[in-house]
Subunit: 393 residues, 2 copies
């Protein structure tokens, strides 16, 4: 048991609290402090994975049955689960509605899978870098990491993680989209080493190029798997709705864990999301969103070229929400310190360090979201940021 | 590591999955299977803690700023947190908005507190019986229970749980409301043995009598504490919204755990709930709800008297949603089996066994919700149930 004493902040001198040891491994995410400041009107934020506010649908509670304000089923509302199963079938992932579990956002899926599989010393294979809030959860439960990149997937063949976590499509933070060959490799490796594949796929709809986006889970032949996605990026994050599907052997346990976590997900959000998905103009709406994002991405790429071409390198992503920059310097730059300076100049971005699993080498990298700021704001913010970096280098 | 193989339910013969050991301790709650059947129109349900559907407010998304569909702060929207802090101040629990953490329903608070404090072997003091889904979560994380009743609180003085979980006001499942003396005792015991008090208070507004409902946390002088409540019972469960407040030493860690669990709670629900709380008629609305519940409770008590007076005993609760019946028989009745029979007769109730912590003696008890069914349905359902029980006895 670890002991936490914080004498300053309580009225009475508190007694020592016997916290669980896992709390020693708990790190706050930089997202949290940044989400607090992005509401400031003068802030130019490249930080969160924030969809553009002008992409949000018009809200309506029309057709919402008063009865749905009652408690609902842990698994989620059946009509939505059926829609999701059919939609995934069109993407080569053939599942029934019985395999769909509605989540209160896909972050919750990470929590449930960690509870299912991760305890002190559990080996979890993760991309390096990977989604920081997934690392946060796996570490909390005691994961030991085996790290890989899309180019070193086959190295996992000889190792035996219990769980392999991957974001094959427009990866967070790198924006990388796995090739068909990389997808096959990942599936084969998991089938061979027996690790459960946990595929996180929130960005697949935000696509501006011609990419293979087939779920890797659809290529598996033997091992168990969990696939999850989110409505935060294509509809609205504030509705906090996502889902997972999984091989049938894992479903009962995951649904019990969901029940223990929050009984069931928000029913009003489930209604609104299904209504939006069924709208005749839903496909066109998404196309318009992607057209706007592509324009933003292209403008962002131009500004990057102007201000960063001699101090950093990057790939232009074919989808998703992020550019991932690596500074071209031998000096190792702590981008968390850089963030503190940038915030003082009203520019927010996401430092690179928290994206690297413990034990993996972090370079001087950081993540820039291109979807939230206007092109004019982005240009201004990138100019400010590049000047700050030149001073540091 | 435990191994789960389920050969029947997957297409390919799956590889063995290395689950976390905690999954061995995971029990599904009977709530889950019962929630699946209560939507059937012919079912008379005394099972869930279901508020009456006619108590739900009219939904409106008026005044909802489109910007609020964006990601929000982990802690919750400030206006709602301020309202809650002021409201608690009027109940003698003096906190600032900085101590309020908005939850996706109060079940989530149990998950967060368990992550904070409970690991294999952690001693947790709980009432016997207690809320079954709290026991489910504490057990998942490895709790060992010290059980007590409102009459044996002082026994905890000589023991040293890390955490004490209590539902002092209209307890679930018993309906008991702690007296002023019992509240003082509980606070003194926690201050003396140094356990963190986790007070769960979802029913306090559903009050039909003259009861002391002062939060026990407001009586503490030394030990750390967490107090939580829910909007499920007074507004609508489908909105999945609750909150916790805690001593300042625990707040940062709990908010990180909240972030790791689901980033933040549904912003549309936060808007709707605050709008409802600020409505000029909110107090009158609640009074009307309570009048209706009181009428239902009284009718329920009459039906119980008619059908159960010679086979069970119970207390008429001054608030909350439940009657707790103990069968007057020497024979030990497994009320889970009784439930299966009752469901075949379209009557649902909550068996008593899952409310008792492991190692505590469970008698032939069961819980009946009186708020969901109409008085006519309730009378019919109780008649059926009493006949079934007579056959079993």
């Amino acid at each position: 048991m670890s002991v936490l004493i914080d004498q300053q902040s309580t009225q009475h001198q508190p007694l020592p609290v016997r916290l669980a040891r896992r709390i020693d491994r708990l790190q706050p995410s930089p997202i949290r402090e940044i989400l607090k400041v992005i509401d400031q009107p003068e802030m130019i934020s490249f930080a969160g994975g924030l969809p553009s506010s002008d992409s949000f649908p018009q809200l309506s509670v029309e057709g919402f049955d008063h009865q749905q304000l009652q408690y609902g089923a842990t698994e989620g509302d059946l009509a939505l689960r059926k829609y999701i199963a059919e939609d995934l079938g069109r993407r080569s992932l053939h599942v029934s509605a019985d395999q769909v579990l509605i989540l209160s956002g896909s972050q919750q899926g990470i929590d449930l899978v960690a509870k299912l599989m991760v305890e002190q010393g559990t080996r979890v294979a993760v991309e390096s870098p990977s989604y920081l809030a997934a690392l946060q959860v796996f570490s909390l439960f005691g994961a030991e990491y085996l790290s890989y990149t899309p180019d070193t997937i086959t190295d996992l063949q000889r190792r035996s993680p219990a769980l392999t976590y991957a974001i094959p499509t427009f990866q967070n933070p790198t924006g990388h989209c796995y090739s068909a060959a990389q997808r096959s490799q990942l599936a084969q490796v998991c089938d061979a080493n027996g690790s459960v594949l946990f595929e996180d796929d929130p960005y697949r709809e935000l696509c501006f190029g011609d990419c293979n986006r087939q779920p890797v889970c659809s290529l598996l032949e033997r091992t168990s798997w969990i696939y999850q996605s989110s409505f935060s990026k294509v509809l609205a994050p504030g509705l906090r709705l996502g889902y997972l599907v999984c091989s049938p052997d894992l479903y009962p346990t995951l649904s019990w864990l969901k029940q223990a976590a929050d009984l069931h997900s928000n029913r009003l959000s489930q209604h609104i999301v299904l209504q939006q998905l069924l709208e005749p103009g839903a496909v066109q709406r998404l196309q318009r969103v992607n057209q706007r994002y592509k324009i933003k991405r292209d403008a962002f790429a131009l500004s990057l070229q102007q201000y960063f071409s001699d101090i950093a390198c990057w790939q232009v992503p074919d989808g998703g929400l992020f550019f991932w920059l690596t500074l071209s310097t031998d000096k190792k730059i702590d981008t968390r310190q850089l963030l503190q300076q940038a915030l003082q100049h009203n520019v927010a971005f996401m430092p690179g360090e928290p994206f690297f699993p413990a034990g993996s080498q972090s370079a001087s990298c950081f993540r820039l979201n291109f979807s939230h700021a206007t092109p004019e704001q982005a240009d201004r913010g990138l100019c400010v940021l590049s000047q700050l970096i030149r001073e540091v280098i």
